[in-house]
């Protein structure tokens, strides 16, 4: 440790790393350790029964199921978005490109009430679907819609630069070797963007699992049917069940951490892949 400063002639290593660690500890680590210690304090059995309650398990299924599905939908549409933004010219492209990030910038509560208004049976889109018996708001479909909304930019924004980076000559080479356009896409383009797609998928998934604000307005929040895990934490809190809330929070925390490691791994893979290739 003492020889750290010998690595570089640049100043400020101790100060910047010290401050970074201090601030990280103060703002992130100490608060998070509260969840961990409170969970440890409650004992294994109490913990296990709290996190495996049927109603809680149902929220996991919905949260993870809908998040997976939403991330998968976003992979498909995100790829299409990235593709048309990189490769085609069409009116309104600049606007589309700028607004893709809207879900990043729009407060989730605003997104929630706006989506609920649109997709309610008497809303502009909901009323179009209602005659066919399709209901979106106030059931798991609503959760899915909200999660698709918030996850879209993650996929578009990871795939877009990678797609833009793909040199045309590779595709020309494939065409020259007799590959059809579809074969070129499947065998050349898709493998090239796969790490980016996976990274985008994982990011959208991680974000969706934790999402609260936009979902609760549109979910309907029926126990066993359309309750998400973060809402379960709130519900537990409102029943003065701190331990239950903390236990579920620790499960989510663990999952967040695992997802993050997965994402970092994927990004490492991506970096290795794309820098070597270039």
């Amino acid at each position: 440790m003492a020889s750290f400063k010998n690595f570089s002639p640049l100043p400020g290593f101790r100060l910047s790393l010290g401050y970074t660690l201090f601030y990280l500890t103060l703002i992130v680590l100490i608060p998070l350790s509260a969840v961990v210690t409170n969970t440890v304090g409650m004992g294994w059995e109490a913990f296990w029964s709290a996190v495996t309650e049927p109603r809680v398990v149902a929220t996991y299924k919905l949260t993870f199921g809908a998040s997976l599905l939403a991330a998968a939908v976003n992979v498909v549409f995100g790829l299409i978005f990235a593709w048309v933004l990189v490769r085609y010219r069409f009116p309104g492209k600049g606007l589309v490109d700028a607004l893709v990030d809207l879900p990043f910038a729009l407060p989730t509560a605003v997104a929630g009430i706006a989506l609920a208004t649109i997709y309610a049976p008497n809303g502009p889109i909901g009323s179009l679907l209602a005659p066919w018996g399709i209901e979106i708001a106030y059931n798991p479909n609503g959760v899915l819609i909200a999660l698709i909304f918030i996850g879209l930019p993650f996929v578009v924004r990871t795939v877009q630069p990678v797609l833009a980076d793909l040199e045309k000559d590779v595709e020309e080479a494939a065409a020259g070797l007799g590959a059809s356009r579809w074969q070129t896409f499947l065998k050349i383009i898709l493998p090239h963007v796969t790490p980016a797609l996976l990274t985008g998928f994982a990011m959208a998934f991680a974000r969706a699992v934790g999402e609260y604000g936009s979902v609760i307005f549109i979910a309907g929040n029926m126990p066993m049917v359309s309750e998400i895990t973060p809402l379960m934490i709130i519900t537990k809190l409102e029943q003065y069940d701190y331990r239950g809330a903390t236990a579920i929070a620790s499960v989510m925390l663990l999952i967040s951490f695992i997802l993050l490691l997965v994402i970092n791994g994927l990004q490492g893979w991506m970096q290795g892949r794309y820098t070597k290739g270039a």
């Binding site: 680590l29 879209l152 701190y242």
Partner: protein
């Protein structure tokens, strides 16, 4: 987590040769799909906010924004962002400096920890502060004894906001500074610049757009955070309601036009954010392409 884009402006033309483009019907289909998705999922919700906000006319709209509680919420939101954003900027710059310019063990793990608040549910982010500062929490009794209010007061809201916006600036700067390397800084040091001079004259000009980008995103999230703040706010009208919470309250009071009016301010903020972001991206792109310009004779 937002990936930065490095599209070359002239990139399009590269794809318009017969061997590497698709039949027109596929193009049209894909564009149609994308545009439909765009309209339904992005444009429509945004439009709805403004349509609903103005559904009762400008008078109701303006009075909703100038009511006492709305003004208090706006003020609180601004104060919160004004504290949280600078703190996270200082942290972000400091973390990026340590991580990008030096080698030390555990660096990747440190980056993962910095990312952590990104993937934590906002609800959990609020809960942790309840567990710490709540009357039943770690410091609760001590704080009560000394009459220091954190939870259900501005400090709690600020802390929760800092937590959820924690990685934004650092996350923009780390890859940027790593890509730029340390050569310019070393050159400045060799030329006799002091630590502060190195940062001010060499590093800052090179990262200013990335920094601004991070600040914009950080600010948007700080002003728009709902879940975490909702847990620690206490919802005291005129005192501890931020704008997103005020939207919820108005919404729950059948005051839809007013709720959407305040929401429209936040949506405007989002639009301004995206506009600035696009501008900044253009600048960053310029900077990157300049620095990467091949050196020919």
């Amino acid at each position: 987590m937002s990936a930065s884009i490095a599209l070359q402006p002239g990139a399009l033309a590269r794809y318009e040769t017969p061997s590497t483009s698709e039949p027109a019907w596929i193009k049209v289909t894909l564009i149609t799909v994308a545009l439909t998705f765009f309209v339904i999922f992005l444009l429509f919700p945004l439009g709805t906010v403004f349509v609903q906000a103005l559904s009762k006319g400008w008078g109701v709209y303006l009075s909703a924004l100038t009511s006492h509680d709305a003004l208090a919420a706006i003020k609180l939101t601004l104060i919160t962002a004004a504290i949280a954003v600078p703190l996270n900027v200082v942290f972000g710059v400091s973390a990026a400096w340590a991580i990008a310019k030096f080698e030390f063990p555990g660096k990747r793990f440190l980056i993962t920890l910095i990312d952590l608040p990104f993937s934590i549910s906002p609800v959990v982010s609020g809960l942790i502060y309840v567990l710490i500062f709540g009357a039943q929490g770690w410091f609760g009794p001590w704080l009560a004894e000394h009459d220091i209010k954190i939870l259900f007061a501005v400090p709690g809201i600020v802390l929760a906001t800092i937590f959820v916006t924690f990685p934004f600036v650092a996350r923009e700067l780390i890859p940027l500074m790593e890509a730029q390397g340390a050569e310019e800084e070393e050159a400045a040091v060799v030329l006799g610049a002091s630590g502060w001079q190195v940062f001010w004259h060499t590093t800052l000009p090179n990262i200013k757009w990335g920094l601004l980008y991070g600040v914009i995103l950080c600010n948007a999230r700080a002003m728009g955070e709902f879940g975490a703040v909702s847990v620690v706010s206490g919802h005291i009208r005129g005192l501890t309601n931020t704008m997103p919470l005020h939207v919820e309250i108005l919404y729950n009071e059948y005051n839809y036009a007013a709720a959407f009016a305040v929401a429209s301010l936040l949506a405007l903020l989002a639009i301004v954010t995206l506009g600035l972001k696009t501008l900044v991206e253009r600048q960053t792109r310029k900077q990157i392409s300049e620095s990467q310009k091949p050196s020919e004779s």
